[in-house]
């Protein structure tokens, strides 16, 4: 018997321009105790379908179907069916304590005293893997970490005592390691409680890790469905094949730049805001024409580092050299002179909505200033050339940012960064918000421009599978400190630092056999606190932590072209080595 049964669900939106079809006769079902998945790119109508199932679409939507049933009864939100949303920060009320948001759910479903509800809420939080539930109940959503908030949301969903849970992009906003934890938790909940789960995601890896049956959705229609094995190993539809291919990515070999002179060098740069954030004692060197990657989770200081490099933020201490010229951060702007440009993650937020694309681009060109100021006509020609190069049409110069799709806007972002002819391009998570196939196209474009023009590129991302494809060298940042540096190929195939290993192990391959085996690799927090500023930043969640890891900060130990900041590689902590010893991974 199907727990959730949806037959011929259609949705139309009434917009200012008339009707827009969002869903066209979509049918799917979820069996008892199974995990089913719906996969599709953004705009395919996945979320609309889920909201329509829950009966939560707004007034502008017209829903028709031959029946949406949960346990053969019409759907009533919160009764037998619960939902988890992507954005755990915004889906919890910011001004109400977490505990109360759970107890009110419990009390909405069964009559019980406040005390009973509180006890039940603590149980649920414990079930969702939150330690010290009593403490968390009294906190507000903003005081919890992203993973913890998503656990609280799961606890709320469980408070409905559901027969089926719909999880709409449950881990998209989370770090890779936390994502694995949450996926694992969802799996365990399905096993323990016997509830069914419907996972909606754009990420083939997430679907592969959880689902036994998969529906593929595209422009409001389900185009293929089958068991996970069928979909991943023997896809029939062309679109599914393309989706899988785009996820796996292409192996473009990064250019060999070992001989090139260093373009930018930073030494022992520190920038601290308050106590936790920022970067501490970071050194790196980018050579002309190379693709250098900076990896790390949210809060690891990647963006701070990018801002220091562009001169937006002055460092507290440390030095930056650009082509052998020292920049002190404050007077540095002149010396950079537009030679370092940036592509941002938020393509919409980084374009002024009141300027046409042409205006935005020629503004970037004007900023160069100096003697070689161009006439407006010449500037216009450059703008049009640049747009063509970025894969847009010259006519797009007169349009406004909101007339473009996300992918096109990111192309504009790239055009704007490239038009002053920079020598270093910083891409700060520039591709994270894009769908796999769009990302692939734009990445290809960027790399070909990078190669022909010999622009060095600092590629900042949390996504190691992406970094692996594009970069020649990599630095891994862990909570503001450098954890490991080396050639990308070597680091990714044989990580030395436990943190790098954890990051690599959290990458979900689009393959049910491999992804299904992934276990949370983050060691249970060993309950110890490092003295603030002292100790390895990863020590609290490192499975290899030794006593010394809590007491002192490891320096960077250098072996050939690799560096790692871990006591496992130090002689004083893990024993003396012979002079001709060749260092290998100690983990």
């Amino acid at each position: 018997m199907s727990i959730l049964e949806v037959k011929n669900l259609s949705v139309q939106y009434h917009t200012g321009q008339g009707r827009k079809k969002a869903l066209d006769k979509v049918s799917f079902s979820v069996e008892k105790g199974e995990i089913a998945g719906i996969v599709g790119e953004s705009g395919s109508g996945k979320s609309t379908a889920m909201l329509a199932v829950m009966g939560l679409l707004g007034n502008s939507a017209e829903v028709s179907s031959d029946g949406i049933t949960v346990c053969e009864r019409p759907v009533k939100p919160g009764h037998d069916i619960a939902m988890i949303l992507q954005d755990s920060l915004n889906c919890l009320d910011p001004t109400v304590k977490v505990g109360r948001q759970i107890t009110e759910t419990i009390r909405a479903h069964r009559k019980c005293t406040r005390k009973e509800a509180r006890e039940r809420a603590e149980e649920l939080l414990d079930m969702a893997g939150i330690r010290a539930p009593k403490l968390r109940m009294g906190q507000y959503p903003f005081e919890l970490s992203g993973g913890m908030r998503q656990r609280a949301a799961i606890a709320i969903a469980l408070a409905c005592e559901p027969r089926v849970i719909i999880a709409d992009e449950p881990t998209t906003a989370l770090d890779a390691a936390v994502q694995v934890q949450i996926l694992h938790l969802l799996k365990r909940i399905v096993e323990d409680t016997g509830t069914s789960l419907l996972v909606v995601s754009h990420d083939m890896g997430v679907i592969a890790a959880l689902c036994s049956r998969v529906y593929v959705m595209r422009s409001g229609q389900i185009i293929e469905h089958g068991t996970a094995e069928e979909i991943f190993y023997a896809p029939v539809h062309e679109y599914t094949k393309k989706l899988l291919k785009d996820t796996k990515g292409n192996k473009d070999l990064p250019p060999d730049v070992r001989e090139e002179p260093p373009l930018l060098r930073m030494e022992h740069v520190t920038k601290v805001f308050g106590t936790e954030e920022g970067v501490r004692d970071v050194s790196l060197e980018i050579r002309a024409g190379e693709v250098y990657a900076l990896a790390g989770e949210s809060g690891s200081g990647k963006t701070t580092l990018a801002r220091i490099l562009t001169g937006v933020l002055p460092p507290d201490s440390g030095a930056i050299w650009y082509k052998g010229e020292r920049l002190d951060g404050r007077g540095g702007k002149k010396a950079w002179n537009g030679k370092i440009q940036m592509v941002f993650q938020d393509s919409y937020g980084s374009l002024n909505p009141c300027l046409t694309v042409g205006q935005a681009l020629s503004e970037a060109l004007r900023m160069q200033g100096g003697k070689d100021r161009l006439t407006p006509a010449k500037r216009r020609r450059r703008v049009e050339e640049m747009l063509c190069m970025a894969g847009l049409s010259p006519k797009d110069a007169d349009r406004y940012p909101d007339e473009f799709s996300g992918g096109e806007r990111q192309r504009i972002g790239i055009a704007r960064a490239l038009i002053p002819e920079p020598e270093l391009l910083i891409c700060d998570e520039a591709f994270s918000a894009l769908d796999a196939s769009t990302r692939k196209q734009i990445l290809k474009l960027l790399l070909s421009i990078q190669k022909t023009r010999k622009i060095a590129c600092l590629f900042i991302s949390h996504d190691l599978s992406l970094i692996r494809q594009v970069s020649s060298r990599i630095s891994v940042l862990c909570r503001g400190r450098m954890a490991e540096t080396g050639e990308t190929k070597a680091v990714c195939s044989d990580p030395w630092h436990p943190y790098t290993k954890m990051l690599l192990n959290s990458v979900l391959p689009p393959d049910p056999l491999k992804a299904g085996k992934i276990r949370p690799v983050l060691a249970e927090e060993n309950g110890r606190e490092t003295d603030s500023g002292n100790g390895c930043p990863f020590a609290v969640s490192c499975g290899y932590a030794m006593e010394c890891c809590f007491e002192g900060t490891p320096e960077l130990y250098r072996f050939g072209s690799r560096e790692t900041a871990c006591f496992l590689y130090s002689e004083e902590h893990t024993g003396k080595r012979a002079d001709d010893y060749r260092m290998t991974s100690q983990i």
């Binding site: 909201l51 829950m54 939560l56 707004g58 009533k76 939100p77 919160g78 009764h79 619960a82 939902m83 949303l85 954005d87 915004n90 889906c91 919890l92 009320d93 910011p94 001004t95 109400v96 009110e104 759910t105 909405a108 479903h109 507000y140 903003f142 005081e143 949301a153 709320i156 969903a157 408070a159 409905c160």
Partner: protein, 308 residues
């Protein structure tokens, strides 16, 4: 939080000092003497001015006044030499404040209620009616409303008395003319912020977890929607509590506003200054309280100030 409050109080005192200084010199720019009166001869006026110390250099007068002000002495009124300015405030402010408080409460409750209706009503007529009505009412100046109300309900229909503030019935018309504008603005603000809160993810999630409509509206959405509204209510309550010159004059209410107008026509320097300083204090305190309440309502700010 305490440090913040103290800092705000300190800046408030500085503002009051500037306010008193500017007013002191501006008042002297009004042509004529406080004691000039049709039949009084120049010699008498000059003699009285001498007695009140108005012949001394302006700077000395200023220093004397500020010295007294610091000790809490607002001086005596020139028109009523037997009463001090503090006594006049003590007599007139309760009248103004009681009317202002009633108008404030009425506009907040009615405005919020209408705003909620505007945001959640399923009937298009109700939503658009409130929006249009709010726009219309916000466009009526309070003197026009006051005169209109006076003509219709007091002169023509004789439902309510027209002057003074003796019985509850006396309150009705001035209260309505005072509250129209703030009510319209509050309903529009609440309607807009509530509508945007209702579109947020946490409301969607609350609906998904099966909460009732009332609970979602009152414990979740309204709480968040009210924080920006409160930022408007603060200054409005300061405005209402210090009295409207126009409304008090039209309904002949013996309040602070009317006293202020007559003090200016009489060039009653000490009274003008005293009333200005008093109203400034009320405005600054009310705004401080508003900011503190806003901070307290947002747990992020609360935690940031309490340093946890």
């Amino acid at each position: 939080m305490i440090a913040y409050t103290l800092k705000r109080l300190a800046t408030g005192i500085v503002s009051l000092f500037v306010l008193a200084t500017v007013t002191f010199f501006l008042v002297r720019l009004i042509p004529g003497s406080p004691f000039q009166n049709g039949g009084v001869s120049t010699q008498v006026v000059e003699a009285v001015e001498e007695e009140y110390g108005l012949k001394e250099p302006l700077l000395d007068q200023y220093l004397t006044y500020m010295g007294n002000l610091v000790q809490g002495d607002l001086g005596v009124s020139y028109q009523e030499p037997d009463t001090t300015v503090a006594e006049i405030i003590g007599r007139t402010w309760p009248v103004t404040a009681s009317l202002g408080l009633v108008a404030l409460l009425a506009s907040v409750f009615l405005g919020t209620g209408l705003g909620i209706l505007k945001a959640v009503s399923k009937k298009k007529a109700v939503r658009e009616g409130i929006a249009a009505g709010g726009m219309l009412l916000a466009g009526i100046p309070n003197f026009a409303a006051a005169i209109l109300l006076l003509l219709v309900f007091s002169v023509k229909l004789r439902w309510f008395p027209s002057a003074g503030l003796l019985t509850p019935a006396h309150y009705v018309l001035p209260m309505i003319s005072l509250m129209i504008y703030p009510m319209a603005v509050i309903s529009r603000l609440t309607g807009n912020t509530l509508a945007s809160e209702m579109g947020k993810q946490y409301v969607l999630f609350a609906r998904a977890k099966g909460l009732g409509k009332g609970r979602i509206l009152f414990t979740h959405a309204l709480k968040n929607a009210w924080i920006p509204v409160l930022n408007y209510v603060g200054p409005v309550s300061a405005f209402l509590l210090t009295g409207s010159f126009v409304v008090e004059s039209i309904f002949t209410i013996p309040g602070l506003g009317r006293e202020f107008v007559s003090s200016i026509t009489n060039r009653d320097y000490t009274l003008i200054l005293g009333l200005t300083v008093f109203m400034g204090t009320v405005v600054i305190l009310v705004n401080l309280v508003t900011d503190l309440v806003c901070t307290w309502m947002d747990p992020r700010m609360r935690r940031a100030y309490s340093g946890k």
